[in-house]
Amino acid sequence: MAEALALLILLPFTASLLCLLARFLRRLLLAQIAAAVSIAGILLILALLVPAVRGRAVLSYAMGGWAEPLGIALYLDGLAWIASVMGTVVGLCALLFAFGEKRYRSDFYFFFLMLLAGMEGVILTGDLFNMFVFIEIVSISSYLLIAYSLDPADLWASLRYLLLSSLSIAVFLMGLFLVYRSTGTFSIRLIEASLSSGGGSVPAAASASAAGTAKALGLAAAALTVGVGLKAAFVPLHTWLPDAHAAAPHPVSALLSGVMIKISFLAVWRILSAFSSTGIQALFRWLGPLTALLAVVLALSQTDGKRLLAFSSVSQMGLITAAFGAAAGGEAAGLIASLAHILSHSLFKSLLFLSVGAAIHLTGERDLQRSGGSPPPFWLMIFFLVGALSISGLPPTGGYVSKTLVVSLFKSSPLLATALRLTAVGTAASMIKLSGMFRRSRAASLPEATASAAVTPGGTAALTAESGRPALSPFCLIALSLLALLCLAGGVAPRFLMQSLVLPAVGAPRARFPSVYTARHLIESGIYAALAVGLYLLARTRRAGKVLKGIRELRLSLNGALLLVVAAVVVFAVIGNMLGGVPGGLFYP
């Protein structure tokens, strides 16, 4: 059974080689079949592994028969299982959408599968150096996918991302060096074991003095967090994301925004919990709401539909990291909320990216200031609405459940709670703005975005393309419907899904799951929706338009962004360790 873990990574890798072969044979169908079969295979394996994960066993497999610390081991626990399922389901929908768009060659599927295999590897690996390798596989395939159009602006966005990501991964390697010098191993499990036994159990640690080791580990935790954290895109490491995610082809945007940034964040999660670095975790409690609020203002100011969505991804990562930071004291509620929001965001953000992508595909217009002349067919709006309701935290969607969980973590600190509530209002307002892509005229009255909550996708089978317009293939419809149904399922059966998926994954199967459909929460979200309409109307006024244009034109230079990476290492090392530190780490009492 444990061999299946290696298969989860090898399957997409093998299929990607077939895609490369298909490129040379000029057989696109071969590439498409290879991609579809490998993803179906991963889903099948994950389904077969359910009983093992249910029993709360941690499956492990030593690659090549070499046990740790010499070899590399793969681990599958509840968290890795649910992250794999998330990645594969969103990957499947993105793949179907790519089939439907019919404009990608075999090499697209090659990089697409490499990206999936790399993400699978980051989730499963139990070795920090191996994690570096898989992160780089993810990175290189994403650079090439982002620049797939070869449009110079897209190439520039991808190159900026490449330089920032390479600098951050160099920081990661420096962190790895410190880890290896202090503990003598790259294995996450062995590092965790050596730290909890007070260090010194691993031979190499004996040579270094205890104080030196502690300092080095505090610094290493900060370096590793920044190294992977750049891809998780929290402030101040978010600067690459809007350009890169807006430049990518639509299915890739969905995969990058929906899954890749969360996988990177889960890597941060694993590293910090192995180092039990509660100080850096506590820093996220402040950094999260700051990220959320800052990015939502930027999102509201955008006029490009995909850039708006990309900024809102940064903002939602703020919520995820805030909830993770709130768990620094050790309570499970923060982790539960964080994972719930990771899952629901992966669904609704990829749904939003794909529905906006479909609208761009149909109308050829991605600028909100120019769209509205010839809107896409009405049924596309339904998919968008499900995603928009979910991201705005309105019932009956998964987003409502997870956002309520996140906000209710901050009862004790009004300042942070206010930041998160303002984010919710701003997000809803930006979604009303984005709905301009699906409406006839932007001068028309407000959409019923907040009122028609109970719309379900249906009656979309009998669609025909209007004459002279590109049609949307059934593959795209299947992808959109699947994501929309999953978004709604999260809102309809929250208790069941939380108890069977989320609670076991964070290692708290018996944690009490608070009821989210209470009158208070419902009224609260109604108030947010009303405020959002007000905010949207305010943002449309001439004066606000000038302010938003000013915000939009604030662009950080590449050099500034690179400097921020270095600054982030210093901030995480100093403040993170002041707040708590690795046991026996820098500044640790």
Binding site: P152, L562, L563
Partner: protein, 113 residues
């Protein structure tokens, strides 16, 4: 001494990435940074002994083989990233006729505004 030189190389790489205006120079700085990290790992591994880790009879006091082994992978990855970056710069130069970071950002902003 070795440690100071490696630190100097790392700082050169980071400073070059942040300060250089020419994109080719930024990528060269990235290569310097990557090489410096490779030297760092190999140097640290070499402190453990004095012989190459080829386990024949009579070979004792070997250096730590793990850093060397993992750095092979890091070198390969570094080359891949450099190749991709240079290919992107070439394409950007073909379309916009410049490799200056400042010039490119001006062009981009003009296009958007």
């Amino acid at each position: 001494m070795a440690a100071a030189l490696i630190l100097l190389l790392i700082l050169t790489g980071v400073a070059g990435m942040i300060l250089a205006d020419n994109l080719i120079k930024k990528i060269m700085s990235l290569s310097i940074l990557n090489s410096a990290l490779v030297i760092l790992f190999v140097w640290a591994g070499s402190l453990a002994g004095s012989e190459a880790p080829i386990l024949l009879a009579g070979v004792r006091d070997i250096v730590d083989p793990l850093p060397q082994a993992v750095m092979l992978t890091a070198i390969v990855i570094g080359i891949c990233v450099t190749a991709v970056a240079l290919a992107f710069v070439l394409r950007i130069h073909d379309s916009w006729g410049t490799v200056s970071r400042r010039r490119l950002e001006e062009l981009r902003n003009k296009e958007d505004g």
